[in-house]
């Protein structure tokens, strides 16, 4: 397919998607479950893609995602709470020590930058470690970050173990889609650049990559920092979605969830991560809800259906995927329109031939 036509088609699809979202927002009531799924799904898609950049494309098994999200969320919250509201939020710390606010977009970028700076610093020692050790060290750092943010002495900045709230949030589902979309697009561009190829070379064989002249330390650090940048932005978006921030919510369980999303989508597939994050959120928040409610068919009480059963079924599904569909939904391929287009063309041509032969 011609490159120009391809770009036009994808752009048209994007516009159509946003138009569809806009129309849906006009038609459906705002409390519809669909919007919860779409909003949370878009945010998780961004975080999952950022984790995939590290785990799937660079082959660095990092479990620090929740920590970087926490930094992003707090940075966003701290710098956007309106000055009037500060005395209410920081009620135990005399209104905190930061007395200015920045616009939302700037705060989102700051959230990413804060996470990236931190990642750069911890990357210096941690990235020398290999596979499991790297995983457990990043997990450890995430736990340390969580403890530091709950520390009373930092209260005037982080509000200790109390909630951060009253900062600007979003209502429309278009906002997270736009931000995540832009971020994911940047990641895709990065993956397709020469840096991306270097990342993949490192994933496939570190020693061979080094022999080809790739600076291992530099590229690993780069991947780690960029991934954390987007995790930070994702954390800020999550904070906006949840309307409150509390350090204790960013547990390692959150990292595991994101890791499962990445694996279900397929390690090394951006579109896979996006698809699976929407599926994951939809299944866990929406489609399997009925399993939590006590149901009667006639006078027969359906057994097992109690609160919590949804999660059990859900984790069994995950185990099945992990055990039997190890490559996930997309493997390491990307979703693209090419095969579909080819299929169409083939049919079209065949019909033409059929028509042609009939005419003879």
């Amino acid at each position: 397919m011609d490159k120009k036509i391809k770009i036009i088609i994808y752009a048209a699809l994007l516009v159509a998607l946003f138009a569809l979202l806009f129309i849906l927002e006009q038609i459906l009531p705002s409390y519809s479950m669909l919007f919860t799924v779409l909003k949370k799904g878009a945010i998780y898609a961004l975080v999952a893609v950022s984790m995939n950049l590290l785990n799937g494309f660079t082959g660095l098994f990092s479990l620090g995602q929740a920590g970087f999200m926490l930094i992003g969320a707090y940075t966003y919250g701290i710098f956007t709470i309106p000055t009037e509201a500060r005395s209410a939020v920081y009620q135990y710390f005399d209104g905190g020590i930061i007395n200015f606010t920045v616009p939302v977009v700037v705060a989102l970028v700051m959230a990413g930058v804060a996470a990236a700076i931190f990642a750069y610093i911890i990357g210096l020692p941690v990235l020398r470690l290999k596979s499991d050790y790297l995983a457990i060290a990043t997990l450890g750092f995430a736990e340390i970050i969580r403890a530091v943010f709950q520390w009373k002495t930092l209260g005037p900045v982080t509000n200790g173990s109390n909630l951060l709230r009253l900062y600007p949030t979003f209502k429309s589902v278009l906002f997270p889609f736009a931000v995540s979309g832009i971020c994911i697009a940047i990641i895709v561009l990065l993956i397709n650049s020469s840096y991306g190829r270097a990342f993949k070379a490192i994933r496939d064989d570190e020693i061979a990559a080094e022999a080809m002249g790739i600076n291992l330390a530099k590229h690993k650090r780069l991947a780690f920092t960029i991934s954390s940048f987007f995790a930070g932005v994702g954390g800020a978006l999550l904070a906006m979605y949840q309307t409150t921030i509390q350090a204790s919510a960013f547990k390692s369980a959150m990292t595991y969830e994101i890791l499962l999303i990445v694996v279900i989508g397929g390690l090394g597939s951006v579109t896979g991560s996006c698809i699976s994050s929407f599926l994951f959120i939809a299944a866990s928040e929406w489609w399997l809800r009925f399993l939590d409610e006590t149901t009667y068919i006639g006078s027969f009480k359906v057994p097992l259906l109690n609160p919590g059963f949804r999660k059990v079924v859900f984790s069994i599904i995950i185990m099945i995927v992990v055990l039997f569909y190890r490559r996930g939904i997309m493997g390491n391929k990307e979703f693209s329109l090419d095969p579909i287009a080819k299929q169409f063309k083939k049919r079209f041509r065949r019909r033409k031939e059929v028509v042609g032969s009939n005419e003879q």
Binding site: L129, Y133, I144, S252, L323
Partner: protein, 296 residues
């Protein structure tokens, strides 16, 4: 004397928790030594043992329920290996690790479902939850038993590894997976036995740990599990004595941070990880770990 009286309870608690971590850490270190897998589900098996005790002791006397808990935990550990890890034996290491995370997620959710997320009161085991006084401080018998029991079990384990046929097989498998297979060692049964030993010790650890903490929740296995893992890494993963030393050290340090005057309680969990990172950077193979050289 004043000094000892104030701080003795913290140190005693530290030693006792350390012993409990040690019992869990052995499960991690043995599995890692053989499969090169961080068994993330191990902490949840420990939690499951806690819940089994809660439910079983409600309906039967302790002298039946305690052995039954241990047997059921061992069966659970064995089944986890059989169902979730064995099919992935030839898969890349990351897949097995992810499978372990999946099992951990499953066990936590099952526990949540059975208990509706409410913390459950752990039954009092008569003799070991009694309190005794040492000097001016009072503590429970379990605090004193734990280190002794831990050391007895570990000596037994080390003897098993050093002097029996199965122990020799374990050492062979952990040295070289493929070669030992060629030498006629039945890998699957060795791995199965490793999981059985690990779960057995985790069950005993859970009896002691929850007697101390008195409530069980679906996520109460996560933190001790991670800490025990850190202990295993600290001592040099794959080494049993290393894991024990690491566990005692972490237990004691964590409790010293809980001393009121220090005002560092927030960091008692984070400290463990700080220790981990320091050891990983300074000596990545841990205190007693073997040096591994990668070949191209």
């Amino acid at each position: 004397m004043e000094f000892i009286n104030t701080y003795l309870p913290y140190i005693l608690a530290g030693i006792s928790v350390g012993g409990q971590y040690a019992l869990i850490a052995i499960g991690y270190t043995m599995v890692y030594g053989i499969l090169r897998l961080i068994n993330f589900a191990h902490g949840d098996i420990f939690m499951a043992a806690g819940f089994m005790m809660v439910y079983l002791s409600a309906s039967m006397p302790l002298y039946i329920s305690i052995p039954l808990v241990i047997i059921l935990t061992v069966i659970l550990g064995f089944l986890v290996e059989r169902i979730a890890y064995r099919p992935l034996r030839t898969a890349p290491r990351m897949s097995i690790m992810i499978s372990a995370i999946g099992v951990s997620y499953l066990l936590q959710n099952c526990a949540w479902y059975l208990t509706s997320g409410l913390p459950k009161q752990y039954p009092k085991i008569p003799w070991i939850s009694a309190s005794v006084s040492i000097g001016a401080s009072t503590t429970t018998v379990v605090t004193l038993i734990t280190p002794i029991l831990t050391i007895v079990l570990i000596v037994a384990l080390v003897l098993l590894i050093k002097h029996t046929k199965i122990g020799m097989a374990m050492r062979a498998v952990s040295r070289d997976f493929e070669t030992s297979q060629c030498m006629g060692i039945k890998i699957n049964s060795v791995i199965g036995i490793t999981f059985i030993i690990g779960s057995f010790l985790a069950a005993i650890g859970s009896l002691l740990y929850f007697t101390n903490y008195s409530t069980v929740t679906p996520i109460s296995g996560a933190m001790p599990g991670l800490k025990a893992f850190v202990a295993a890494v600290f001592g040099g993963i794959g080494s049993v004595p290393g894991a024990v030393v690491g566990a005692f050290l972490i237990g004691i340090c964590e409790n010293i941070l809980k001393i009121k005057e220090l005002d560092m309680t927030t960091f008692s969990d984070a400290f463990t990880f700080a220790l981990l990172i320091i050891i990983l950077i300074a000596k990545p193979t841990g205190l007693f770990g073997e040096k591994i050289t990668d070949k191209v």
